[in-house]
Symmetry: C2
Subunit: 208 residues, 2 copies
């Protein structure tokens, strides 16, 4: 009656589940994938998932976190390049990541986690960007450093603001391209190229 699933290495199950979930998320979209689908594909019962993860959200978070580690790894812009070129590379990296890992991006930035309310961090400063434990936001720290080098004329608050504006502008196009694929978009490549150009311009056109 009880067929114990043959000998996978002990904690290989967790990895197995994550790999399966990642594949299913990419194939059907995060929101359409159920715990029963994941379990069936892994070859275990649905409740068995809860021996490895506390909830389906924890699975989603882990998948997203790992994907974002790729972004961070790739985000290493060439240190010796001019700041201007670094910004260009950073923007390109961000687009590239968002569009090649739309499901990870969706989990991290598009889905709403009804999270436990975080305690407010009122005296937020530049370091807070880097302090966030999620690799996605941490990447914002890199972006902020590049912008700081390009705009030493701004004070810290101004650099924070500008970083957030740049991030928001980048996020906007990626989010819309992911969530509204049916919209009659202009040619995707030239749209992204134009947007990248304009975003860089947001940073560098100080004296209007």
């Amino acid at each position: 009656m009880h067929k114990p699933n043959s000998g996978l290495p002990k904690s290989g199950r967790r990895e197995d589940i994550l790999a399966t979930a990642t594949a299913l998320f990419s194939q059907h979209g995060v929101q359409a994938v159920t715990t029963r689908q994941i379990a069936a594909r892994v070859g275990i019962s649905q409740p068995s998932l809860y021996a490895h993860f506390a909830s389906i959200q924890e699975i989603q978070d882990e998948v997203s976190t790992r994907a974002f580690a790729l972004l961070e790894a790739r985000f290493a812009v060439s240190a010796e390049a001019a700041p201007q070129e670094q910004l260009r590379q950073a923007v390109a990296s961000y687009f590239d990541f968002g569009l090649t890992h739309p499901e990870a991006y969706r989990i991290a930035f598009l889905l709403e986690h009804p999270k436990a309310p975080q305690k407010a961090d009122e005296d937020w400063n530049a370091a807070a960007f880097a302090a966030l434990d999620h690799p996605g936001p941490r990447t914002l720290g890199h972006l902020r450093r590049i912008i700081a080098r390009l705009r030493p004329d701004l004070d810290a608050a101004g650099q924070d603001r500008l970083t957030q504006c740049v991030w928001a502008a980048l996020h906007g196009l990626i989010a819309l391209l992911i969530t509204r694929p049916d919209f009659p978009w202009a040619d995707r490549d030239s749209l992204i190229a134009e947007h990248s150009r304009l975003v860089c311009l947001m940073v560098t056109s100080h004296v209007a």
Copy 2:
């Protein structure tokens, strides 16, 4: 046993449901509101909702559509103003709407409708913006006209691209502010002011 709900005007029920749903959406967020909650507040049974709407998505869509009609009405920028000023007003209107009706914005642009796949409209052109039946996208037609007046040097495709870039940049900040209220944002007002300035700059800084 059967207490027929006393005499509301005939098709007042539909309006009643929409008003209740709107209130609940604003209070708890679209995704947290269930059909049973709506029905209980209206004073009817849950299945009775389906006499007026085919699905909960239809309720959400109707609520969102009506809210966006407000945007469109408000979007009437003063016709005699300079194009530059019109752009500024348009950007301000969009922000104002997105942040005062976050649930409507969420329904229209943040939630993913697993819609019936729309037929691809390959030879898309400027008119397609206005042809979309949702007031939200229709508002993009207004934005595009303003941009066209500011950038007559661009061909139609270039104006389409620029409009989409501007929309994406606006959307990005609104989307993040709505979905990530816990992020350590800079001061909200100055952040929006800065973003608005930079978005306008995207349009007007042709010759770099």
